[in-house]
Symmetry: D3
């Protein structure tokens, strides 16, 4: 099975970290290929970054379909472009926030999210609502450092994440932690060991969900809402983005 | 007051229709300027179209900020890019689905939406939920014709819209109709006259809401979630989209 | 356009304050006439006050209809008698809690309410739920002083309101403040300047919403739930309150 | 134990019917006294009727408190003035919609309401929501005849009620029926016998709930939201309605 | 009327305490018989305890039906086996969590639950949701002592309960307390006296609700979901538990 | 990896069918062992059946823990004993309703459930709510035949399932079907082929989710609500069910 894992931002080091987490999580026989779009933000920390990054994600999904991948992962905790990606994909497409929250609900009656910038808490909150996971999401906490600090060995980001996880376990009546950024993919194992609770990191979670869906031959439904988009003209710079496969 | 009304698709005739509806609705002293992005889909009928169109909307918001508009309207019933647009705008930004649903809740205890393609019903459903309007939204109905048929004098689109509105009033226990497409902007007055109920069309609704917000000096909050996006590098084709104003 | 702004309590000084806020907010060409009923409580601080005040509101709506007003505002944060008023009105009727909460949702992803007596928090909470605004309402805070202290220059009410707004911005993850009492109508501008966030005051908000609805010819739906009440006898003291216009 | 059962409308024959149902339902030792206000609508079929009737209800609650009743029932399916009544009452106050819906949730996983005029369905819908009973309320059905037809032996009202109950049982996946009008109090027993399911009529339900609360010495909480209203001046005709007992 | 009150755990002293509370709450003419199953946990403090205890409850319901009881109470705050019990019962079956939460909603706009072990808070939370009572439930607090400490005169359990109730009243904006364990049945009266608010204890609440339902001849609906279970074979040790009465 | 798949009923032929589906779905290297309890109902078609079957499930979970299984599946669409099972398990425990609904939400914006007896629809409805999946669950449909008819080659059960799936796709605005009974495990592939949409069968779905959780080393959280139950005495027949491992 071949899964394409799309880092929606354009920072190579983060793509490599995501790729390592994806491949480490994959079953024998699964190849997880991590990429990032050629265009878009170097990190995603706002609705604005999300909106632009979504187009880069769609670039990679279209290419991934042509390349014959069995499924796709969108590896940013805002799950940018998720439903649009499903429309143009034949196989499954899974977001890391989505996968992490769902898996958390199988191992605890409640979870808290720990993320980076405080301004992105509202994004996680909206997603929890859209995925039906609000009843499990006890709190959304932020360390309030930029995403790329997670890639800086000198930063105190990882220490702050651990501290915030501890606060969550003490105060939020939660049994599990969801890490709210793909850049935290390398922290899950050690946090889980330290804290003694499931610490769920979305990249590996989403790879697992895609593997399960592909294994069960469950692809995105093409009946109704998520059918291929109607073919039509896109003007200007976005000409090449036009959907060409006819809607069924 | 100068309001920029952005048609997120790239079809001129629809931009003109939207512009006419916006100006007709505007108060004396308000100038409503309708535009559409140079790039993007000629109509918006899928999540995919929405995602790409959002970038065109953001192009126009950024330009609109530079041009000194007092507020912006996003004139597609999926409200593409709404929260992202708010982050980069100093004044208010209002979507037409959002405005129409809110105004409907002031004049009836329930409304039904009548839209174009059936596959877009889920988009309206998700928005109703996100805006807190699900408790007022009795049903979402589709005529299941493409958006651009609304611009074709020979199509039966407008007749089907009227018929679907009638069915809604008979069966949905609703007191008002929300028209679910900017391309229906020219139908509201005659439908309202025929049906004897409020028929709410989003373009005029959104212009009214922006006028009210600007009149009350209520701009998008820059405290917290909707502050200007952090300045950062955007790579490749999207270089010029990078947010440059520093987050407060 | 002529809008009648009804202060549901019977305190003249508050009616004048409300009238000033309404007229200041109105567009050129709008006349906002503030009145209060001849009968009822001098301030509204309980469900009981609300219930009795509702009849005074309905007195004024009926008179307002006879006088030919284009729309009405109910200027108490409990929106007493709102749906009943809509039934007997031909034009739009808007409550100030309703208008303020809706407008706040256009400029922030969350707002906190700051009100007077703690016992009235539950009234605001119930309204937020009924209007679909609970998902935006982060908190409801009270200074726990009586309403009429807001009219007493020697009271510390306005200082406490400002302090509570500050606490809300620090602790509630909100981007805007909704002032939870018509008696705070004169505080919004200075609070907004001090705090640097949108501070939404219901009287001006409701005037703006009525202006928009009237401008768009959107009147209360007479199809279904909000049709004119069936004509019937009212006995005793309330004889004159009997609805006489036939239900359509 | 003495319970005052207030018919919020001013139609004697209906008060007598309500009184008979209340006394028939009461335990040995309970005296159920049915009254109606001297002022107000002869039937309640709109939000407007509800709002005016609420004052009549409060008249009777105040008198009931002076007369030393142990508890009160508000015997109209809109429960007019319920929270206001609780504020001025020392004992429990229970509405018939409230009591019927709650009791229904003990004997079935879902119920349907059958009421009179279609325009009042929205009132029942709002109450189900406010009482937390929306998850049990499968449907709200109307026979669309006026309330007072229930008192007219020549009308087909009772036949239509039975037919609508049958349709509910066939189509709504409900296990119980809630009768949505105090004027149906005399129909419950025979409907229950005919249909073979619990048919819950609010007057007897509310008497039972009040008896239970009084028996358990559970009175309306005077801590917080439902404390006695602050004493204050009421002007004009409503002078005598002013709350005089000091808030604790 | 004869009501069987089932203590789902197998601790005699607690059964006696429950029996005393039940009989004290019962009306003249009601006989409340408290029992506990012969098999099962000595206290119920986990989902696991609940699941096993449910079978003991069903043993007693089946026996109670044969013995001709008019109704049943399930006297553990997790309401184990409630819907299953309803299926095999002809009369009403009421859980103490259910009864207490419902009655609390009649005397306050919000309540807090005070329970024993912190790990059981989630059980109360899930029940509040299932009963539609989440909107009234302000908080769920635990003293974090085992259930059987409530039966130990030397333990500090009752002091801690009182302290937690006080904290709830100060911080949770609640007007009433719901005691979250049948073992607290003897504390309600003195707590209510000390705290000056309604303190609702489920055993007496459930007895009252059953009395009301039986008095109104409202039995569990046998139409649809709660009809008698289909007759079938149960294998092994559970042979005797097989439902034998034919589903209608 | 070794997964124990527990058929909560005691019908061997169904256990074999479930085992075949589980093993067919499992990855290379996974051993799926299907068992059923020695005691309990031969099919599960009521809350009562569910409650008794839960104890059989817990029997098998305890044995499975001793046998060193890596995870468990509960293979009845009511997910009997799920949270109790999690408390006594060290690895993950997943129910088939839970797994099927969650996976459906990854491949469609809405799904309909097709189940056996109409009386069990309410069980699926309650689970959808508890899992946060109600917003995705468009409808729950029943063929209204007993569970064991699915094992009878002469019955028309499978034809009726197919017909009901078709109706769902035509009328429910759903993009996927969830089969609401473990006894339908053998129908998914052919239905999916016939209908051209994802048809999700819980046994394979749950095996996939357990594989993913085990692969990611995500076990049931032992922090808080799902910690091992406190050790204590169980009396009588259930003596051996007593939890003996100490709560952490």
């Amino acid at each position: 099975m071949r899964i394409k894992v799309i880092n929606p931002n354009t920072t190579d080091s983060m793509t490599r970290k995501i790729g390592a987490a994806a491949q480490a999580a994959a079953r024998p026989g699964t190849v997880a290929v991590a990429v990032n779009p050629a265009r878009g933000p170097v990190s995603i920390e706002s609705h604005y970054d999300e909106a632009v990054a979504a187009v880069g994600v769609l670039d990679e999904i279209r290419r991934g379909e042509a390349e014959g991948f069995d499924g796709h992962v969108i590896a940013c905790f805002g799950d940018p472009g998720l439903l649009a990606a499903r429309e143009i994909a034949s196989g499954p497409v899974v977001g890391i926030a989505e996968a992490a929250m769902h898996l958390a609900s199988f191992v605890a009656t409640g979870f808290s999210v720990v993320t980076t910038l405080a301004r992105t808490c509202v994004i996680a909150e909206h997603l929890a609502e859209q995925y039906g996971m609000a009843r499990f999401c006890r709190n959304i906490r932020a360390i309030d450092l930029p995403v790329l600090d997670l890639d800086d060995p000198g930063s105190e980001a990882s220490r702050l994440v651990a501290a915030e996880c501890r606060r969550a376990l003490e105060r939020d009546r939660c049994g599990a932690i969801v890490l709210g950024c793909a850049g935290m993919a390398d922290l899950a194992a050690s946090l889980s060991a330290q804290l003694g609770v499931p610490v769920i990191e979305g990249v590996s979670a989403a790879v697992g969900v895609v593997e399960t869906l592909v294994g069960l031959r469950l692809a995105t439904s093409k009946h109704g809402d998520l059918a291929y988009p109607p073919a039509k003209l896109y003007r200007g710079d976005f000409h090449a983005l036009a959907p060409t496969r006819l809607a069924s």
